[in-house]
Amino acid sequence: MEKQNATDALDRALTDLYRTDVPDGYRAAWRVAIAREEESRMKQTQTRRSLRRVALPVAAALLLVIGALSAGNLIPTVLNDSLSPAGAPYANQVSATSAPSDYVTEETASYEARSSLAMMAPAGGAQYDFAGSAQNDASEASGTDEAVSGEKIVRTADLTIATTTFDDDIAAVSALVTQTGGYVASVNLYGEASERMDRLAYYSLRIPSGQLDTFLTGLEGIGRITSRSETATDKTTQYADTQMRLKTQQEKLSRLQALLSEAKDVSDLLEIENEIANTQYQLDQLESSLRTIDRDVDNSEVSLTVQEQSPVKTAQTVELTLWQRLGSGFEASLRGLAAFLQNVLVFLAMALPVLAVLAVLGLAIGLVVRARRRRLPPEPPAYGVEPPAFRAEPPAAPAGPAEDAKTAEENPPTQQP
């Protein structure tokens, strides 16, 4: 009984504690808040769907552009060809540098006869005649000095030519050398005839000094001269000195030969012959030196470098009119568009196998998902009862004590001691 009374008191206390009407404003407010939240979610979903509708095509277009650009790099329009446009490959390096005393090159065999002739009889300029000079020397034996045979000016030139038509221009150089009566002392060629490597040719030429200006003028019509230098060295004094020394040695030789004929002792004979040999050696040296100067005077040395360049590098600045610029721009744009469309097709061809595999996979996954959805039964009601109606009436007092009495009947209270 006491326990029942305590239970009743607790029930009353709890009822007293919790009995609060729920404000109508609250009831309405949270329903409105939920409705607004759902509306906001739907708007976000629609926005996401719209973004997806826009983003997917944009992403696909971007992928196509990037793929086309990559395809252009991966599959170029021109394959690397080692043959020169003329069909004949150049060796990596062809060096035909001649020895100082031999002016014949392996590449230009046609110059062989020319060079020997040049040694023997230079095309132009002064001629050195040993016999004539010997006679002159004899006439000078009395002590009169011979006048210096003119000025000895050695001219050299060093040029660099840039060209976009390498093969044509080196042929033009060879032709010009022949035309001016000169010859190629040495030539070195570097590079291969391909788009990716610029070729180089280094020439050492001998041009008759009388034709040097003609030759240099002729070079101006070949390619584009990017550097040029000329020197003129006066060897007149050196030449005259050498001549004087030669004359002295010749006189000495004559005297020694006279002494040889008058020698009586063997030892005298040997000594005189020895001295004759030394004098002859000196004579040969001096004559060679004079010949070298004569050669340099008669045939000017020209160092020529022919450098192949791509058309962009050799382009000369030319002012364009507005219409020319518009036309060039439009043309370039059309070419670019055509190249881009080509690259798009190449990219699609490259991507086709991958896309086919992805399509098959996607189709398979879609079929599996659809089949699973068809197999799943609809969600059954958890308890198979209708939802309780919402109570608009204020809550009735709980029939606590009566029901609790029923509970007490089912669970009789323990007897108190």
Partner: protein
């Protein structure tokens, strides 16, 4: 109760959510009122509870009852509310409760007995707060909304016997907390 509404509510159907949680709106409000002691704050906290529950509905796994789940959300919202700077903590006076629609029978005509009753209520409220959330929810529905055992069973998805035994256990625990025999 909740079987046919839980699925659609989890998928974001607002109408299904309202149908699912409408029977529990009183429980949520009363609990917020018991913690925050202020009708205005309790309304706001209860509304926030419903909104949070709607947003989190997709994560509801039916491992607990909707009422218990909602009760826990309400409790956490109230605790966060109390942490806010400037949270109103007013003791609810009887006059304020009457304004809010509360009209308890005045069993204590004298001021002394009224004060005593207020103290007892406070003690009881403290003891209830120490109960597990599912028992608190059960007491709120039983004594706040006045649901019968049958209605409680349907609301919570339990059998009548389970509801009765859980209520008895809640009362026994309360008695021991209050020091009653």
């Amino acid at each position: 109760m909740s079987g046919i509404f839980t699925g659609p509510a989890c998928r974001g159907d607002a109408d299904a959510f309202v149908a699912l949680c409408a029977p529990l709106e009183g429980m949520v409000y009363r609990h917020c009122l018991s913690v925050l002691k202020n009708p205005a704050d309790a309304q706001d906290a209860a509304q926030e509870t419903m909104l949070k529950a709607f947003r989190a509905m997709s994560r509801f796994r039916a491992e607990s009852q909707v009422a218990t789940w909602l009760f826990r959300i309400a409790h956490n919202v109230c605790l966060d509310w109390l942490k806010k700077p400037g949270a109103r903590r007013e003791n609810v006076s009887l006059d304020a409760l009457r304004e809010a629609g509360f009209d308890p029978p005045d069993e204590n005509p004298t001021p002394e007995s009224a004060c005593l009753a207020a103290g007892e209520r406070e003690r009881l409220s403290g003891a209830v707060a120490k109960l597990p959330p599912d028992q608190q929810a059960l007491l709120l529905l039983r004594y706040g909304d006045g649901l019968s055992y049958d209605q409680l069973a349907r609301t919570l998805g339990l059998s009548d016997g389970t509801v009765k035994s859980r209520l008895n256990r809640a009362r026994e625990k309360l008695r021991s907390l209050l020091g009653q025999p």
